[in-house]
Symmetry: D3
Subunit: 158 residues, 6 copies
């Protein structure tokens, strides 16, 4: 651990030069949780709105956010994602929804930010759709689970 | 608590009709935390990169993300924010950075999503700038702190 | 019928000055159809993918496109939509899907383009999701059905 | 014809994995028509606005929309187009304008959606510029004419 | 002249709070020049490409850029422009093109940045279209000419 | 010098076909100046706001604008930048700030527009942050300094 890669010697931010890196297949997996009241979770997963668009909307928002990542994160490189998946799973025993994402491409730089951004925006979209009934929802533990490819190879969260 | 406002009777998503709501001043405050290794936090706040652009970049990213909220969250209304603030505070004793945001406008609908999105994207930007030295950082507790204005009036997190 | 409003005396395009127009409630309704093979329509509406995200994805895409209209149509004014609806209806007897949209706001200028753009992009999204099985789908009859508000008042397609 | 490629086993939408596809040169051609009153068409092509920006504006809008396709169509991959053409032809005998488009690139996935999106947005732009004089215009027959490249090779509309 | 309005007491950037400002009609006019070789200017204005899309493309790019201003300039407020004009004038005696722009709206904050951004992007678009024949073109004197409305009232460049 | 590359035989604009060009490493360097009152420059570089975000904000805005170039310049190809740098230097003796930029990638087409756009938007951002105290600032001499790579090879401004 030595220096921050996104700052030059004077501390000024710049987009890191990846010209000399090798194109390899890169995969990243991330997750996020959104905790809510039990009744809120029931409204999404059972009864009246069971077949409703809540999860579908969050899924689409997450996928589109992965593509928008270089517009959101100032020093991210524009990438050509070859695959994006956003899964949502209700965990009624913990009164929360788990979001897990996967992004993949062949490139000189990794897709960690895309996977994390997809998870974050899917969670925010769930918040948006349920906020009229439950403003106290909390988005928790957005983190990288695993990444493959590139010079530093495989990394997995403990 | 009754039904989800963003779904119609068939469960289809739509952008809620706010035509008949009143224009009032709306304020929302949100927060997020990003936990990292002690050394990572030191790199941002002390020594070599002390005057560097890390916090400034995250701040700008958060402000710009608040403006981009209706592009990210599918059912959000486009809004004309009159003020956005994003503060970052190092908390060395907890080895984390706290992000708190404030969004404000006069409108028929609230700015909760803008404040939450600003906090999320500022946190993601910190992750991006430090990920080369610390992939295990975790973004935690993104939540609404307080909102004012609108029909439901003042709300404050417990 | 006299002159095109979006061109000046020299024929140069410009964004029409609406400063002196009155803010009124404006509503526009539009529709589009996408014709496909009977088997393709069955795949969307029956059997294996019956509960799948096809219509939800098109609906979300249409709503988001309404918000993006001023980025797509060069001379459109930026607007603050107060409501957007996108409905999709399978018409198996005609082997097609009907898309109808509604956009609403209080503004100095109308929302016809938003309603038409939402219908077009919802139709294009259906094409995208089914193109692997049916490249010959045709999007037909994108048109304005009705508009209310503004100086010219109510207009309805014949 | 078997299953929709953009849905997984549970019916959830995702961005199709194209990692293992081959990079080939891909070309797609699409068309659209916009039918209008004879006087409207005359205003564009003759007399006072003959040298005006109407067709130029629609052409530029179409080209820019091709580049925006992955932002509009939720499950589209981001692509690096190497060529985009948008042609507009007045057909006075049929009181309409024909729009035909061509998109090209070297990639793992096709450019059908880009060509169709360019045609649609060029047509919508014509509608926008003429709507003050003719709200009854109809956009018709947006369809793929031809595509080359990729695993499925050459395809041509009947 | 005292302090920079876009920084707080600690020097951190934020979006200035305009909540308490009055809505007035605001107008801003800006200009830019692009100097080129005489032959390059001739290619645009005479002979073979006389009726070509060069000026129309720059005009459209400038208008669209005015709408994109809050996405480009980090601390700009999102605005609802009511009018945008971009004029291009060949000045053969000075071997340059003059671009002048006008933006207008009713708002709590001014449109100077929109007018300046429109002028800049129109100039950049001319550069793009002519760069294959003349890389040495220079964009000069982008400046505000005049602004009206708001607390500080009328301002005119010397 | 013969014809404009972005127009076809009829003078219609299109996105130039680069399919047959070779992928080479491309670099472009550009610059811009913004002249202001001596007091304005002092406010940025000395005293109260010395550690403030002014330069950082302009730097980030410039980097993000380079990525947005294909959205702004109608006929630009979408590119995957591998490196972007934006430097700001106060020149107190000339009462101005110099902005110089560098963009780099491996592609079939050059990055001149990205470097010029980054310089322009960084300058506009400085204008925005200082306009409350100095509306008379002028952005001057936006020009390409140098480009490498591609068929035409190395080019350097005189």
């Amino acid at each position: 651990m030595s220096t921050l890669t996104h700052l030059d010697d004077t501390g000024a931010a710049y987009m890191v030069d990846v010209s000399d890196k090798t194109v390899t297949t890169r995969v990243a997996r991330a997750e996020a949780y959104i905790t809510m009241q039990a009744e809120t979770l029931s409204m999404i997963t059972e009864g009246r709105h069971k077949k409703g668009d809540v999860f579908a909307t969050a899924r689409i928002a997450g996928i589109m956010a992965a593509k928008k990542c270089p517009e959101l994160i100032p020093l991210c490189h524009t990438l050509l994602l070859t695959s994006v998946k956003v899964n949502l799973t209700a965990e009624p025993d913990k009164s929360r929804v788990r979001i897990d994402t996967m992004c993949k491409l062949d490139a000189k730089t990794g897709v960690e930010m895309e996977a994390l951004t997809a998870a974050s925006v899917a969670a925010l979209t769930l918040y948006d759709m349920c906020k009229a009934v439950d403003k106290g929802m909390v988005i928790e533990s957005i983190r990288l689970l695993e990444k493959e490819g590139g010079r530093t190879g495989h990394w997995k969260a403990e």
